[in-house]
């Protein structure tokens, strides 16, 4: 036994997967028993329980803790078990093989770095053997050892083992997974688990135990480009700390960071930590840390910090591979919540390209739903632009889950960015924001001075619906309340800024309008605008240019009608303008633009 000095320790997470009844729990139990890794008395205790209940002892009972699991002889939920061998520590996760519990298998496998995939020699390759193999590849687990179990039931025959190896290798090669090795065992009898079996002299490879030792520790993501998703912004004391866990790369004091998708930028002033001496000046991939910035820029949870020259992708649309484990099928057009690192945004499935039948990997006919436990290739569209990477470039920021009602119901990896109609404008906004020459007065200084943040109120609607009247009333009310507001009518730009342009070039008109609004917003104003010329799609373009400033879209109409997408407030029929202006002001308060009362400290939804 080594002494109590600190020594380098390595920990590895391993998952055991495979079809139901192929012997995963038995393999785990046997591994512990044959290496004397069980707590004192555990084996006897389980033997006693079996005797009392009048049933034969099985190694699987050691970890199937629930009464129901023992009664049914199946594993329902994943168990984490702790195992140490030759100075290496393992957390071995026993995942259920029954297809009803696939979500539990995924929960277990998602945290693993390597996998043992168990196949019954007598039954051969079954549905879940393949499905689990496919899911391992989707979950990014590339180190796989295949354990061919129950060799005793096939008379320890080499040809049976080799046939399974050949068939399964072919299957895995389609997934670009190359298994490390195939091990023939009998978990029940202990052949090739911890000890080499005398029953299979034809096998010259390693035991299961030795195979564990050959799995490698994942390499750190420190060398990859920086990805620092913002988890929260704390202001418990004088420090304003941007907290989060570094997904890839490293961050150090003095680095210039760009936050996507807002394109805000600042220098790292300090790296914060509690009870760490000396005070750290950098943090690396995997660490939960906190930083302060040299400027009080507005940043919200969900943004991803990176360096300027290696920023993540930004779009509302992407292609992905997704597995679905929801109670209800995944439907095209239905709204779901997408979560990517710390970002949460509403989304919908735009296209189901194909259902990948995990059993044969062939595509099936096109459908509008993805059923429980199916894997599909999709295009997803989010309501607001998100920052992300392709999974092949950066794992943590290249994968996401979908939440249906209260439950995480699907997981996916991003395979391709799809350009949407605003990609060009978004790129313009990003380049402009990064290159923007700033004075010493920041947005927070202006907000403090004015007592409110900047915002854009966009009033839409047909002719004679009272848009201009409302806009003037709103501007008047805001200024009377002591706010700083300005009415920007699209028509005013026509004679000046747009005088060189043909009437019909609405695209350029919209772009210029958006840039002017952006300038006014940068001065800290609440810009109230009415535009007749612009339709719904153009409003989306303006949002893209002023992003991430809060935009409140108000739609006016004479009768009930479908307002343009993303409308916040709609007012059909006869109007009480006083009341509508008051309602918009309430909305500005809800969105954290205005403080509740003048003179009170502004309560912002994000930042400060």
């Amino acid at each position: 036994m080594a002494t109590a000095i600190a020594r380098p320790t390595e920990h590895l997470n391993i998952v055991i997967v495979g079809h139901v009844d192929h012997g995963k729990s038995t393999l785990l139990g046997r591994l512990y028993a044959d290496t004397n890794s069980l707590p004192e008395g555990k084996l006897d205790k389980v033997r006693d329980i079996c005797r009392q209940q009048g049933k034969a002892f099985e190694y699987a009972f050691l970890f199937d803790a629930f009464l129901e699991e023992q009664e049914q002889g199946i594993t329902i939920d994943t168990a984490r078990t702790f195992f140490k061998w030759q100075d290496r520590h393992y957390i071995i996760i026993d995942a259920p093989g029954h297809k009803e519990f696939l979500k539990n298998m995924i929960s277990g496998a998602a945290r693993a770095e390597a996998a043992l995939l168990v196949i019954d020699a007598q039954e051969g390759i079954k549905e879940q053997s393949k499905k689990h193999g496919y899911l391992l590849s989707l979950l990014g687990i590339r180190q796989v050892a295949v354990v061919v179990n129950k060799m005793d039931l096939v008379g320890y025959r080499q040809d049976v083992f080799e046939a399974i190896e050949k068939e399964y290798r072919e299957f895995l090669s389609q997934l670009k997974v190359t298994p490390e090795r195939f091990v023939p065992v009998s978990a029940k009898l202990g052949d090739n688990i911890a000890n080499k079996s005398a029953n299979m002299p034809w096998y010259g490879g390693t035991t299961v135990l030795d195979s564990l030792g050959l799995f490698r520790k994942e390499t750190s993501r420190e060398q990859q480009p920086l990805r620092f998703p913002v988890q929260d912004v704390y202001k418990f004391d004088a420090r304003r700390v941007i907290a989060g866990r570094i997904a890839a790369g490293r961050v150090k004091v003095g680095d210039r960071l760009v936050f996507s998708p807002s394109n805000k930028s600042a220098l790292v002033k300090t790296v914060e930590a509690f009870n760490v001496e000396p005070v750290p000046t950098e943090a690396t991939a995997g660490q939960s840390t906190g930083i302060t910035l040299d400027e009080q820029i507005f940043i919200e949870r969900g943004e991803i910090a990176s360096r300027e020259d290696s920023a993540p992708l930004v779009s509302t649309t992407f292609r992905c591979n997704l597995f679905w484990m929801g109670r209800h099928p995944l439907e095209v057009g239905k709204k779901y919540l997408l979560r990517l690192a710390t970002r949460e945004v509403e989304c919908e499935v735009a296209i189901i390209h194909r259902i990948i039948d995990a059993s044969d990997l062939a595509s099936r006919e096109t459908r509008t739903i993805v059923g429980r436990n199916e894997v599909a290739e999709l295009t997803i569209r989010t309501k607001a632009p998100i920052a992300f990477d392709l999974y092949s470039d950066s794992e943590v920021t290249g994968r996401f889950v979908l939440v249906d009602q209260y439950d995480v119901s699907g997981g996916g990896i991003m395979t391709e960015m799809v350009t949407d109609e605003h990609t060009v404008l978004r790129e313009e906004a990003r380049q402009r924001d990064i290159a923007w020459v700033k004075g010493d007065v920041g947005a927070d200084d202006r907000a403090r001075h004015f007592g409110h943040r900047a915002a854009l109120v966009l009033i839409t609607g047909g002719r004679y619906t009272g848009k201009s009247f409302l806009a003037r009333r709103l501007e008047g009310q805001l200024v009377a309340d002591g706010r700083h507001s300005y009415l920007l009518d699209g028509a005013n730009l026509r004679r000046g800024l747009d005088a060189d342009m043909a009437e019909e070039d609405t695209k350029e008109t919209v772009r210029r309008f958006g840039e002017v609004a952006r300038l006014l917003i940068d001065t800290g104003l609440i810009v109230v605008s009415t535009t007749n010329a612009f339709g719904g799609a153009d409003h989306q373009a303006i949002r893209t240019l002023v992003h991430p400033t809060p935009v409140i879209a108000v739609h006016m109409s004479k009768a009930e009608e479908e307002p343009p997408p993303n409308t916040d407030l709609a007012f059909p029929g006869p109007k009480d303008y006083e009341a509508i202006a008051a309602q918009i002001i309430t909305e500005l308060k809800t969105r954290g633009v205005l403080a509740e009362a003048l003179g009170a400290k502004p309560q912002f939804h994000y930042s400060i």
Binding site: A2, T3, A4, A6, P8, T9, E10, H11, N36, L38, P39, E40, G41, K42, F63, A65, F66, L67, E68, I76, D77, T78, A79, R80, T81, F82, H89, I91, K103, N104, S107, A110, Q231, D232, Y234, F236, D237, R239, V241, A243, R245, E272, A273, F274, N275, G286, Q287, S288, G290, R301, M325, R339, V401, V403, Q405, Y406, D407, V408, S409, G411
Partner: protein, 267 residues
Amino acid sequence: MMNSHLRQLEDQSVYIFREAYKHFDNLAMLWSMGKDSTVLLWLARKAFFGHVPFPLLHIDTSYKIPAMIEYRDRFAREWRLELVIGQNKEALAKGMNPTLGRVECCTALKTNGLKNLIAEKGYQGIILGVRADEEGTRAKERYFSPRDKHGDWDFREQPPELWDQFKTTFPEGTHIRIHPLLDWTEINIWEYIRAENIPIIDLYFDKGEGTRYRSLGCAPCTTPIKSTARTVDEIIEELRKTTVAERSGRAQDEGRGMELLRKDGYM
């Protein structure tokens, strides 16, 4: 010095704390003054840079060892903690005690004491220090584990948990148990206490009588183990050699006690 595995455990726990704080308006943490929940408390201070932005709950069964109460009050003062103490006074008034049955007593004084407090205060999230290596049902827990309206645990229908995306949305009237220490082992806890120099209650150390507590609970149902470990170093050395289960001194673990207790909302 902290080894890389301890650092990983710390990073993961801190991440969980921050997710809990972000998603739950009415959050609280259980503190039993034992080694695990004291490490938990330390990790909260790590996560929030020296602050603990939610109350700490102590379910007082009235059978706790007196030294534990002194320790609680001292650090609540020093670390400026908001302490909320819950007690099932009704059950105590009716004379509930361990001689009426261990599972019955735990259910009345701990489980129901906690449930009453959750109902009274309307907590949506409860952070607690259970570890997967303690016993079988805890090995199957999630980091974010829902409890229904009655506080019960439906282990058949646990939510999927992957890529650090947790269950943070839930229907009215239910709550979530949050387990930042799930991946820690007993030895990790002690290694971390050593690395961070966390002040730990001295009941864990032998004071010359050749015994110490390995796991702390109520006085009548927790027995000390034979051990001469007087320091954190000596405890770590002892744990490296032992093959005896940590909770062997805890009476409620006998038979199927823990599964039944935990299904009904025990910690």
